[in-house]
């Protein structure tokens, strides 16, 4: 058995373990929540929406509305996906660029 590979990829392994634990806890918790949810009750809401609801519960009404609100949650997800995509593009671009530079320096 060659354990060197574990040492080399220890951070990747740690990240994978954390993701798996996170997903497992999510699944268990979700099963609990769904079992106890009343019909029609919304689960896994955004904490920001809960925060706004807590503020509105005090009788406060927002004094201004956003100039533009995405017309549906689908459109909103699209916009958030575009944001993720832009971020991921820049990250991938530069890591690819670094990699190419390193490889061509080695080849030269």
């Amino acid at each position: 058995m060659n354990f060197k590979v574990f040492a080399k990829y220890r951070l990747e392994i740690l990240f994978a373990v954390v993701v798996i634990v996170f997903a497992a806890v999510f699944l268990i918790q979700n099963a609990n929540i769904q079992a106890n949810a009343k019909p029609g009750q919304e689960t896994w809401q955004g904490s920001d929406d809960m925060g706004s609801a807590a503020i509105e519960a005090t009788g406060y009404t927002p004094w201004i509305q956003p100039l533009w609100t995405p017309p549906s949650t689908e459109v909103e997800s699209l916009l958030f996906s575009i944001q993720s995509g832009l971020g991921a593009f820049v990250i991938g671009y530069f890591f690819g660029f670094y990699r190419g530079k390193r490889d061509s320096a080695k080849a030269a």
Partner: protein, 229 residues
């Protein structure tokens, strides 16, 4: 959210934010002019804030969803003041296109995400460096603290603006703390591990810039590279 802070508080948080942004833009210009080669890592740091803050992730502890902040990398590489500028760009984007956050609440949001969280993260970073903490553990802590503290500050901001509701600041703070900060714990941990991993790739790609930025010494780089081969 837009309009969710009384206007006096909006003005207050803008007044707090503006000096940081002005100084941050100055530092950013200086950084790019004097160390042009750091521009790509600046873009990558900004891109991580863009990417991670766009994700709405379920938080298994409480059964609600929230966003990571992604500011950890930028805090370590460029410090909290430049992070305030990068964060405000993301916050404006989300306020204008997604009606998420808001222009009136921009000051408050940037104070929690771009200033207070990163400042505490930076304090953790310096402390970690002073006691010679393993750089990956340090980055994990910085990222997790910057993320978590962002939402603690959000709870404080809201409790300060809406104290009378429940009779006092503390009771109100507990309500908002439960909504925002508790949700954030698992996300902060996950984000911390992710950025620590990303940092490994940055060392492998551009250790030269990390040395120039004073994040690592050449000896540390050689040692870390050796431990991953």
């Amino acid at each position: 959210m837009e309009g969710f802070l009384p206007w006096q508080w909006c003005v207050f948080w803008y007044l707090v934010m503006v000096p940081f942004i002005i100084y941050g833009v100055y530092l950013l210009n200086k950084q790019v002019k004097e160390h042009r080669e750091t521009l790509s890592l600046l873009a990558v740091s900004g891109a991580f804030i863009f990417l991670l803050s766009s994700l709405k992730m379920p938080s298994p502890v409480v059964g609600s969803c929230s966003h990571p902040t992604g500011t950890g990398l930028s805090v370590v590489l460029f410090g909290p003041i430049i992070t305030a500028v990068l964060s405000v760009i993301v916050l404006i984007f989300q306020a204008l296109f997604m009606a998420h956050g808001g222009i009136t609440t921009l000051g408050a949001n940037d104070f929690s995400m771009g200033i207070a969280g990163p400042l505490l993260g930076y304090a953790v970073y310096r402390l970690g460096k002073a006691v010679n903490l393993n750089i990956f553990v340090n980055i994990f802590l910085v990222t997790a603290v910057a993320d978590l503290f962002t939402y603690v500050i959000t709870a404080i901001e809201l409790a300060a603006a809406f104290p009378a509701t429940h009779g006092s600041f503390m009771i109100s703070f507990e309500t908002f703390f439960a909504i925002y900060a508790v949700t954030q714990v698992p996300l902060a941990i996950l984000e911390g591990v992710l950025i620590a991993l990303v940092f490994k790739y940055i060392i492998q790609s551009r250790a030269d810039i990390l040395v120039k930025l004073g994040v690592l010494t050449q000896e540390q780089v050689t040692k870390i590279m050796g431990s991953f081969s």
